[in-house]
Each structure stands twice: as C-alpha cells, then as structure tokens.
Symmetry: C2
DNA sequence: TTGCAAATGCAATAGTGTTGCATTGTTTAT
DNA sequence: ATAAACAATGCAACACTATTGCATTTGCAA
C-alpha cells in the first residue's frame, strides 16, 4: 500500500484512519479543511482522531497546514521531502474567492523582501486571493 | 477629540466605547487581538460590543484585520486612506516568534508573482515570521 | 428637546480545536 | 504465532473565538 509505506518512512504506524486520510488528501488537488475531511471520512473516525492524526502528520513532515482567510486550517500533502519539523514549502497559497478552495501553487522566483532594522526575518509566506482555474 | 473626528469622517457615531478602542489602537504600535482589547478595556464594554465595533471599523476602512499564525484576528489602524470596503494595505505583516506581536511593516518594493494559467490573482498578502526589534 | 435610528448589554449559540482517560489496535521481540 | 509494550482511538468534557436575537440605552438631527 502506498499510504502504508509513506507512514513507515516517517516512522509512523499504519492505521485505517491514517491511510484513509492520506488517500483522501492524495486524491484532492486542493488543501482540505477539517470539516471536509470529517464529512468525507463519515463515521469512520472520531473528530478528535482526525485532529490528532493531522497534527502527527504535520509534525512528521507529511502534510502542511495553511490558514485560510477565515483562520480555518486546511491541510495538504507536502510535495518536497519535508522531515520532522523541517518543512520546505516555498510555494504560494491561493484561496479562490468563489469556491473558497485553497491551492498550493509553485512560484518560479520566490520573492525576498528587505526588513526594517531590528526585525529579523526567518520565514516569508505568500497568501494570494483570486479566482481559481475551475471557477474561471 | 481626535477619535471623534475620525469617526465622523467615516460617517460613524462617536461613542465612548469606539473612542476608547481607537485610542488604545492609536497608542499601540503593533496590532492588537480581541483578547488584548478586552483586557485593556476592562469592564467598560461587553465583549460583543467590541466585536461589533471592530467589524464596523473594518467595514469603514478605519482599521484592518490580520490573522496571526494561530488564526486569531488582530487589528491595527489603517495608515493610508482606506475607504469603505476599499482597503489599500500593501504592507507586510510580521509576527514575532518570541512575543507573538504582529507588526505592520512597510515594504519598499512590493513583490509581484506570476500565476499559473487559469488562476486569476486579485490580492497578494505577505506574512512574515521572525524576531521583532524589541525581542532582539 | 424630542424622536428615531443606531449602538450596547445580555443570553444563547455555533464552530474550531484541545485534553484526560479508558479501551482498542499495531508492532516488536520472543 | 503469541504475548508484552506502547501507540492510536473513542468518548466526554472543556476552552476559546466569534456570531445572532432581542430588549434597552444612547447619539444626533430636526
């Protein structure tokens, strides 16, 4: 199984709920909210289990979390090789103003900005808003 | 009164709670969360009143809202002339990883990024993370 | 000063996310 | 294949942020 090996590779146990979550996220091209997952999972798992599984995934670099315009978390599989607590996600998060879906989009030249004196930059995130390809 | 004229200029009634909120935000150099305000206001106003006042301010272009890393709203006075529903805030939001305060920082050259075909960009936000001048 | 619309306070509610604890399930070593 | 060890799950309860409805009070314009 694909999900099983992914889990093992990150030192995690392979359980039905975790495999299901990974399969859902793998089959979805945009980031999914907890509510999305809860609905798709149906009665297969408890809400709390989903929260815990998602947190574990994030801590082990399998997925990353984005907050949308409303401050609600959405989750997407990491494309690059993220390891525990070392996420490499230099991409843009785009939320569609029509369908509210959040997409992870590649950016050819990731911008750098100069900071005022005294401020020490460690990470810059790009959050975009607009209309996605499906709603266009 | 300063706050009164600001309110009038945006077609809003001048009330004690609103003036107090504006004075607090004017005296704070970083964005304030609802919890901050609630604590500073003390028993002067109900929580719900604060939420409503802040929403009204935002709708009239007096303040703008930023979501921090935790998805919690923080509010800051608009510097430019924002009008109702037409915010002009091409600046960077910087959250300190030590004190968690959020600062609005100017950016000399606001970056532009190219979007994949099909995606129509309407707004790009910059959210930075690092250590602020006070914690450095 | 008075009347009306807007702002406020209070109570209740919705949604997101977390914690504690008992139970179940996965894995490792035998 | 089995058992022991430990991690994952389910359930209940809780914390926090934010919103809504309604009765009351207040700001402001006529």
């Amino acid at each position: 199984m694909e999900s099983t090996s992914l889990l093992k590779r990150h030192g995690l146990r392979s359980t039905p709920v975790r495999r299901l979550l990974l399969e859902i996220m793998d089959a979805t091209e945009h980031a999914v909210s907890h509510a999305d997952l809860e609905q798709k999972v149906g009665g297969e798992a408890d809400r709390v289990t989903l929260y815990r599984a998602l947190n574990t995934f994030e801590e082990h670099g399998i997925i990353h979390k984005v907050l949308d315009r409303e401050g609600v978390a959405r989750f997407a599989l990491c494309m690059d090789n993220c390891s525990t607590h070392t996420h490499v996600d230099e991409h843009l998060h785009f939320q569609c103003t029509v369908c509210s879906n959040v997409y992870c989009l590649p950016v050819e030249h990731y911008p750098r900005v100069a900071m005022p004196t005294g401020f020490n930059l460690s990470r810059l995130s790009l959050v975009a808003e607009g209309v996605c390809k499906r709603c266009n």
